[in-house]
């Protein structure tokens, strides 16, 4: 299959949905500028121009509400924010309005909006530009929340999201944008709410989210050297959660690692742990392990970033500990995933 970048895959999904439904449109700050949201709106812009790829003022709250209103009126909207933090200006519109409108009005008011946003990491972007806030949205019934981790999912999930009659938050990790992978051509849907068993393994289940999927895959290779097979599940969607796929796996392995890009406390990793414990307690050989961010804002200094983010070796050590009871020797030959370098 031909390979393309994650950013291009996002673009393909967008273009496809816009071609199929002439009422679909895009909105966001500077999304029609030459950088085109790291290339992801480029093809749409070329084909449909700024009338359907609409630049907006720096007014996240109203603009999100306007997108919601247009969506209710029958123009499915793809709203793009360059950082997930900017959504905090629009929390009222998202949580109190988009998530409630159809329910509150007895099913008469679907809201087909997709809100795309990017998670930053590295190059000293610091406390206000590096948060992973999907747990905030995962707590809210009425929303769907996806985090595509591969180019194929970027296309398939985003395409499904644009066609979905409900508000979908699509959270994209900045480090994924340049990842290259096989992506089906043409119409390609990945269902929202279905996790993906990327590689089976019999010893330990690792449910990973967003960029952590790639860390889990790398950890799998290292663990194989110790004779430990990690089953890597890409969670893909954090609301609704695909409990069946996770439970199937844990019932088999009896051991669970959850690798999240967000803060640990009250994160999605807590939910997965609690849900599995609730439903498969007697299958569990050991307590589930959460690999996530420490309870601190993101620091700027490269020296602190280095220790702030969990590492592939953390997953490896957790896997060893779950199987052998000990983290073992220092993990050797840990690959370095491509880091994003400034200036932005």
């Amino acid at each position: 299959m031909r390979k393309i970048k994650y950013s291009e895959a996002l673009g393909e999904a967008t273009l496809l949905a816009m071609e199929e439904n002439s009422r679909v449109f895009l909105m966001g700050e500077g999304i029609d500028d030459p950088k085109a949201v790291f290339g992801s709106t480029l093809s749409a812009l070329k084909k449909f121009g700024p009338s359907r790829v609409m630049d907006t003022p720096l007014s996240e709250n109203a603009v999100t509400g306007i997108g919601i209103g247009a969506a209710i009126e029958g123009n499915p909207c793809v709203m793009i924010h360059m950082r997930v933090e900017f959504l905090l200006y629009a929390m009222d519109q998202i949580v109190n309005h988009a998530a409630k409108w159809n329910y509150m009005f007895g099913g008469t008011m679907p809201v087909p909006i997709v809100i795309r946003c990017i998670v930053g990491r590295g190059w000293g972007q610091a406390s206000q530009h590096s948060q992973s806030l999907h747990a905030l949205f995962a707590h809210i019934p009425g929303l769907k929340v996806i985090l595509p981790a591969t180019p194929a999912d970027a296309k398939g999930l985003l395409y499904s999201a644009i066609k979905d009659p409900n508000p979908v938050i699509c959270i994209e990790h900045r480090w994924l944008y340049d990842k290259v992978g096989e992506v089906p051509e043409g119409r390609y849907e990945v269902p929202i709410g279905k996790a993906n068993v990327l590689i089976p393994g019999k010893d330990v289940t690792c449910v990973a989210v967003s960029h952590q999927v790639h860390e889990a895959l790398a950890a799998r290779e290292l663990l194989l050297k110790d004779g430990i097979e990690l089953e890597v599940i890409d969670l893909r969607t954090v609301r609704p959660i695909d409990t069946a796929t996770i439970l199937n796996s844990v019932r088999k392995t009896g051991r669970l690692i959850i690798a999240d890009t967000a803060i640990k406390t009250c994160g999605i990793s807590a939910e997965i742990s609690a849900m599995v414990t609730e439903q498969a307690f007697h299958s569990l050989k050991e307590a589930p392990v959460r690999i996530a961010l420490p309870d601190a804002p993101t620091p700027c200094s490269p020296a602190l970033e280095e220790v702030y983010y969990p590492k592939i070796s953390d997953i490896v050590e957790a896997g060893r500990r779950l199987v052998t009871g000990s983290t073992g020797d220092a993990v050797q030959n840990v690959p370095r995933l491509v880091a994003f370098q400034g200036p932005f």
Binding site: R23, F25, S51, R52, T56, P57, S59, N61, A62, V63, T64, G65, I66, G67, I68, G69, A70, A71, I72, E73, G74, N75, D92, Q93, N96, H97, W101, N102, Y103, M104, F105, G106, G107, T108, M109, P110, V111, P141, G142, K144, P165, N166
Partner: protein
Amino acid sequence: MANLKSDTLKSLYTKMLRIRRVEETIADEYPNKEMKCPVHLSIGQEAVPVGICEQLSTADRVYSTHRCHAHYLAKDGSVPKMIAELFGKVTGCCRGKGGSMHLVDHEKGMMGSSALVGGTIPLAVGSALSFSIEKKPLVSIAFFGDGGSEEGLFYESMNFAALKKLPVIFAIENNQYATYSHQKSRQATTDIYKRGDSFGIPSAQVDGNDVETVYHTAKEAIERGRKGQGPTVIEFQTYRWRDHVGPSTDIEVGYRTQAELDGWMEKCPIQRLETKLLAQGLLTPRERDEIEAKIKTEIAEAFAFARESRYPNPSEIYTDIYA
């Protein structure tokens, strides 16, 4: 300002009276505790929604607030479905999920109302954006209060609507109070409409208790919208007679005076039109009584319908979370 036709005037009168009587009945019945939800009555403020909505088609849109009864009724919402909604019955306009603060009728163009002050302003602009994209000669109305005009959403929405020349009318019902706080203790300048000017939007401040003035001012704004000439801001000066929430009067709370209330009750929009219509012979006392009687029956039937309807099944908790 051309004179309105007598049919139009009678229609305005009937609609205002209907709203008044529906709300008075709600107030009377409220202590029976069959309507288990907070109610925010618009008694005294009927002219604004009626004067505007009289000129709209069902494809034109209205977005409203916590104080939404009058907007819903002015946009031809069904009285039985409204009362059933207040009763929490499955026959209500939201199947019992919304209650008094969330009246809706998609087919009539009543797009819903929010309990978050200011929350629907951008939604109304969203409808207008859709009309503009689809090149439809339709308009969208954002109803909100003087309090709502303090939310940043209003300014962000005005800028966007003016920038993209969207057919939206920012219809501000300035009743001077937000709950028990007077506008002067919340706003640096009380001429809200001037803030519309500063975005280059045609903006006006008018008597919101004179339904004909409301009608004429809205007419211009609606025409402007339909022609693709962009948004309008209209600040309507009006006054709420009852408590902020609940069925009663509230002078005893102590935040406003009886004299102030009395002054505004003299400017009752319904009485004003009735006096004029009677004086000019456009309405006879007998016709008036017939209208009253018809409304009375309609309301009685609506309450009976609400009482007889069943509650939603428990499983409805899980329906319509997603479309």
